[in-house]
Symmetry: C2
């Protein structure tokens, strides 16, 4: 085993990580990476920050923290790994344990032997059935060269009207890096809300409300049919509902696993279309491992296979494959779909199952949506955050959580992800001992506050409507009182314009209970939800029979965008 | 039960929280809070930010997020709770269920009946046996009035030489709020390192190194004997080792639970000296509950009783007592000693057991100390962080973690705290699905990186010395090679001055192996530890028999402070 040949196909993230770990464990192995592209071991996730100018040097995207470029010379000197760039693997001969590769420049072919083969061959951007994608001004954001081209176009002033097609992770990161109040930027999303695979529709609406206020134009439930151009340059995006001026188009409709090489070699492909691997990251051929964007993973909650091409999985799996090609038995247990991104000043994160996903899986779910501050409200750095949590009514198990806001979201979702790993219940969450000091949190952390609200709902202490439900009631013309308990100043800043709205501050409510009609349903509303909850309890205590409060208050209200 | 009398003694944090929850559950209860002080429901934890000027308005420390002062009128109007300030409870008559209280201004006595009594009577600052504590210029930082007095003194220019006695949470928060390069600030700590109850000694040393470089003077293992003054004002602090000029002295040697009232009423006091309660927060009298700083808690890892006066426990317990005085069965399971603070630009956090604590409890522990970036190193906001993790070798269970640095620490320690709640192992930690994007993390999160290092140590793949061990080897005059594999620039910036140091960059090492003496022990060192680990593996691969690397690199080296 000592001098075995470890051949790795793919040199972006999964491959180099595997090589580094394998080398540390086995000084004598012959480790070779074949990469068809020009760059290796680069930070694909860093492209948006290069585009936005936050990272000035292109080189930084493939340099170590100590400033050394991660090129083939680096891999040879520091890792003892042979890297061949511009070398595309063409076929795998499993019987003879050989890989035929071709130099992408010269066409020269070369055969590489292996004892263990590792496929870190990534994913490919999906090309949607849109006419004229070949026009100039049409970009993707999947490879380093894409980032360079977009940046050049922006610097050349060729990005005044930008249309981004798709609002998944890559679409939103592209948005974050190209958005400017000086540009007209439109996102066209085939589904009904932003980040449809990541955020539940209610959070997607709140996200859009915020981005809209910053100047983003969103088109939802709209399908791009074709592009139009002049002199070979794109000028318009034509959808099934209209047209949009476009000087730059960024295609971001997702990726699919790159499985050609594996499929042609007869390796098992899973139900998701990605390469099937066991918990040791072995394919159906025990001497061939696969990892990263080209494989499918097991969702720890649903038990189902999922295609989840995330950089963190590629890196963590690299360590596991590095162990196992050297005889180890390390395992990758599965994923929870945790994801986080930053877009136009907002932090966005999720873990576990979304509400609809959970319902589709047959769970009887309860949810809570809260708005609060990410640290003590009196601290000058405090910012608003929104959290949603989803729980299985039957077992009390938390199924997922999502967050959105200017404040700290990411690590609280990590806390929930940790919960989910252990199959923890809501009661467990409420017993967590999370750190508190004014610059970091509130005495009861926002994520526990969210859990408390959910528990109050399950216990029947808190009876709520979502903003969407209140909006539907208003639209249906139902007779009820929408009791706004904020201060007059807060009310005047922003309010729901409707005859059914009544104003009474929380401080007045106990004294003026007789002003609230007792024979009608009363829905209380405030800024973030806590005073409305208090008001609802006061009304119920006073004998009102049909009282609810609107979750997350006006902070959770996405319906006043023009 | 509906119209029962709930009497709450103490109006700072635990009491008001209890009252609010009890009221929401029971609209008809008669709820009364007695508070001997002037202010109620105030943010004691916010005092340092008021002192430092980050919070401008004193009122903000006891106002709601929507700007309403939390005074008795507020509690009456919004909560339906009667609050009597300046009213000190003197005795509890358990047989008759009555409390005798006295107006602190008029001396007038009044009797309050209860069905359920709640003690949220907090803690008192310890007065150490130091002579002349009555001099002017001597302060504490335990009550809002303390903060006001210190601020007035600073504004009057009476804080040029400041001595803080004690470096626990309150001492460090006082330091954070009074420190300025324009003042001479000294911390005198009886134990050997900063924050001795919170951080292990190695992190305490690294913390001090950083604060020292900013201008703090620390005196360790030093006991204050007396103060000296002129014209009734303090001028000097006299210790067992010398004297320090002092215009202002802040006493912060800790707090002890306020148990007088409970003790005199015959309620059980626990082994820690705090009030003993069960998981329902009931004292030895089932109709009397106690919570917050006056009670002892169960440590979830050691199973032992601990006195842990943290604001977050007071608040979480308030919810539980609010439930239970209304017939609920909510439980508080225990604590993990999670704590976090910000001091002079550094974030500091811990959870679970410290290394020494764990050893004292009989655990056979392994630890890892790492230095890394809190997000991708190429992101302009990335900052350095140090994490330490402690694991039980026998079971693989994680026992605790600590963090220190300018970057994000707090929420990663929360992730470990969540782990600890479930008794998770190191392998569990490595399987967590934490969110990644460049502005939030590294593809392998720092806390998982710490876990990987720990696993490498347990597996014998990583053999390390701590900085302290290397320093001891150097001081003992041992013959070994300290192989520095950083770039020459990095070496020249800061290095260990010793003949035994040899320089070879990691990139050169494979080619120049013959320059490293094979018959000596080799200890590799770099900036943060990762290149030194790589170098150690290269040397071992090349047949070197006795190789180790220094954990956390020069970032973990606290010994060059002058």
């Amino acid at each position: 085993m000592a001098s075995q040949k470890i051949l790795i196909i793919g040199g972006v993230a999964a491959g180099p990580k595997t090589a580094a770990r394998a080398r540390r464990l086995n000084p004598e192995a012959q480790i070779t990476i074949l990469e068809k592209g020009k760059y290796i071991s680069y930070a694909g996730c860093g492209m948006p920050y290069y585009l936005s100018g936050q990272i000035h040097e292109f080189d930084h995207l493939y340099s170590t923290a100590y400033g050394v470029k991660r090129d083939p010379e680096f891999f040879k000197a520091e890792r003892g790994v042979d890297v061949l760039t511009g070398m595309e693997a063409v076929t795998i001969n499993r019987a003879d344990k050989k890989v035929l590769a071709r130099n992408v420049d010269t066409g020269e072919e070369q055969i590489f032997e292996y004892d263990k083969l590792v496929l870190g061959i990534g994913s490919n951007p999906i090309t949607p059935p849109i006419e004229n994608l070949g026009l100039k001004g049409v970009y993707r954001l999947n490879h380093l060269t894409d980032a360079v081209r977009i940046k050049e176009a922006m610097e050349a002033g060729e990005a005044n009207d930008v249309v981004i097609i798709g609002s998944g992770f890559i679409g939103m990161e592209a948005l974050d890096s190209v958005f400017s109040p000086m540009r007209a930027v439109t996102v066209v999303e085939f589904k009904e809300t932003l980040l449809p695979g990541i955020l539940d529709a209610d959070l997607g609406q709140l996200l859009y409300k915020n981005l809209y206020e910053q100047g983003l134009e969103g088109r939802f439930g709209e399908k791009v049919l074709r592009l139009e151009g002049e002199d070979g340059r794109v000028t318009k995006v034509i959808t099934d509902k209209g047209e949009i001026d476009a000087e730059m188009v960024i295609l971001a409709v997702g990726v699919r696993p790159n499985v050609k090489l594996a499929q042609e070699a007869g390796l098992a492909i899973g139900e998701t279309g990605a390469i099937s691997v066991n918990e040791y990251m072995q394919t159906s051929d025990a001497d061939i491992y696969a990892l990263g964007d080209c494989v499918e993973n097991t969702h720890l909650l649903s038990g189902k296979k999922v295609f989840a091409p995330m950089a963190t999985y590629a890196n963590r799996q690299g360590r596991i494959v590095g162990d196992n090609v050297n005889g180890g038995k390390s395992t990758f247990k599965g994923v929870l779909g945790t994801g986080v991104l930053h877009c136009m000043g907002l932090n966005i994160a999720r873990t576990g199952l979304g509400e609809k996903q959970a319902r589709d899986l047959g769970y009887d779910v309860e949810t809570a949506l809260i708005s609060t501050f990410d640290m003590t409200h009196y601290h000058p750095s405090s910012s608003k955050v929104i959290f949603k949590m989803i729980v299985d009514k039957k077992t009390g198990k938390i199924l997922g959580a999502q967050g959105l806001g200017k404040g700290e979201i990411a690590k609280r979702i990590d806390v929930v992800a940790t919960q989910l790993y252990y199959g923890g219940t809501l009661d467990d969450l409420l017993n967590l001992d999370l750190g508190y000091a004014p610059p970091f949190s509130t005495p009861i952390d926002p994520i526990i506050h969210c859990g408390n609200t959910l528990k109050n709902k399950l216990d029947g202490v808190a009876k709520t409507y979502t903003a969407q439900e209140v909006q539907e009631k208003l639209e249906r013309g139902e007779d009820f009182v929408l009791l706004d308990v904020r201060t007059p100043q807060q009310f005047n800043m922003r309010n729901i314009q409707d005859q059914r709205v009544q104003q009474l501050t929380l401080g007045e409510l106990r004294e003026k209970l007789d002003q609230v009609p007792k024979d009608k349903e009363v829905v209380t509303v405030c800024v973030m939800g806590s005073r409305a909850y208090e008001a609802a309890r006061i009304l119920e205590g006073a004998g009102f029979k049909d009282v609810k409060f609107m979750e997350a208050g006006m902070e959770g209200w996405p319906f006043d965008m023009d």
